[in-house]
Symmetry: C2
């Protein structure tokens, strides 16, 4: 058995507990969720959690850190693929919006439960968040340099764009009228308007 396969998150039971914790945290919040809630959703006894994970807080840490890293990877890939700043921003907005709309349950935990982490774990996540901000800001600055974007303060604008994307996870509910595709398309168009890009054909 390899090192990787022995690590907690690699076993099927460990993953099932992580998924149960994600669903519970998204619905009730970290502090509103008991370890018994998580165990019940995973179809196991409360004690089983501690065979695979160190603590309830570590469950949140694992969800939050891996979630943040996956978003960062996704937008970096989207950003690299584009040619012009407008292309890159459009791809990044699509990727970022899709993560928050389709993955709204996971994203709700990732983006809104950070405050329940220990200070050290919160700093690990914050570092990834800074990189996510840098990806956005760099594209905006590049677009300002080429004249494609009309933006007075790229830092503030990138915060707004990220904010609008993140907040999808708070308000979006699939049982309502809009599909994720509609929400993402609207987000992408809104982002282009915010930076003052020329309307797309």
């Amino acid at each position: 058995m390899t090192q990787e396969k022995r690590s907690a998150a690699a076993t099927a039971a460990a993953a099932r507990i992580l998924d149960a914790a994600t669903a519970a945290f998204a619905e009730l919040g970290f502090h509103g969720t008991s370890t018994r809630d998580i165990a019940a959703r995973a179809g196991m006894s409360p004690a089983a959690i501690y065979v695979h994970h160190r603590s309830k807080e570590e469950l949140l840490y694992t969800i939050s850190l891996s979630g943040h890293r996956r978003v960062l990877d996704a937008i970096r890939e989207a950003s690299a693929a584009g040619i012009t700043p407008t292309d890159r921003l459009e791809r990044v907005a699509h990727s970022f919006g899709t993560w928050h709309a389709e993955g709204h349950v996971r994203a709700r935990v990732v983006d809104y439960e950070m405050g329940a982490l220990t200070a050290a774990h919160q700093e690990d996540v914050a570092a990834v968040r800074r990189d996510i901000g840098t990806v956005h800001r760099s594209i905006i600055e590049a677009g300002v340099a080429t004249g494609e974007f009309a933006v007075a303060d790229p830092s503030m604008t990138s915060v707004s764009i990220i904010s609008l994307g993140v907040d999808i996870a708070r308000w979006y509910r699939p049982e309502k009228a809009w599909t994720t595709a509609q929400v993402v398309a609207h987000y992408r168009d809104t982002v282009l308007r915010i930076v003052g890009a020329a309307p797309r054909s």
Copy 2:
């Protein structure tokens, strides 16, 4: 002693407890806050809370409902004062942004802790939220009618504008670089861009 003065929230001690609860809920979340936390912040014993309020949940309900009502009143007043849809939207954005930036502590509880309310209390708050949405959507529809705004879906656009304002309360921290006035001005300008209004002089 009048009826009003005898109601719980009207006494000084009751208000002090409400303020302490607001600060605690904003920092730790509803479920992360104990009644002992609240009592300690108010400089009272845990038992004192129950002289002035029925339960911890009722504290949140009072904060959340009165907060929502105050926002609704503020944007209704701002909306009525304007002449053109652009004027009205600008005033509403200023009012809505100011509430969330300057009142970010209170707004964080009002907007992000709703899920901890009982179903009945959640519905009371949701009714006010629907009115807040209607105020925004009506202005956008009016602007589309006059040709001042270029918006394909007024419902989605009003959700975006509200979302961008609400989310200020999540990310804004006064100890960072930006003043509330800067954040509000940027929000107001961004809102006008989102609806496709002509840039202001």
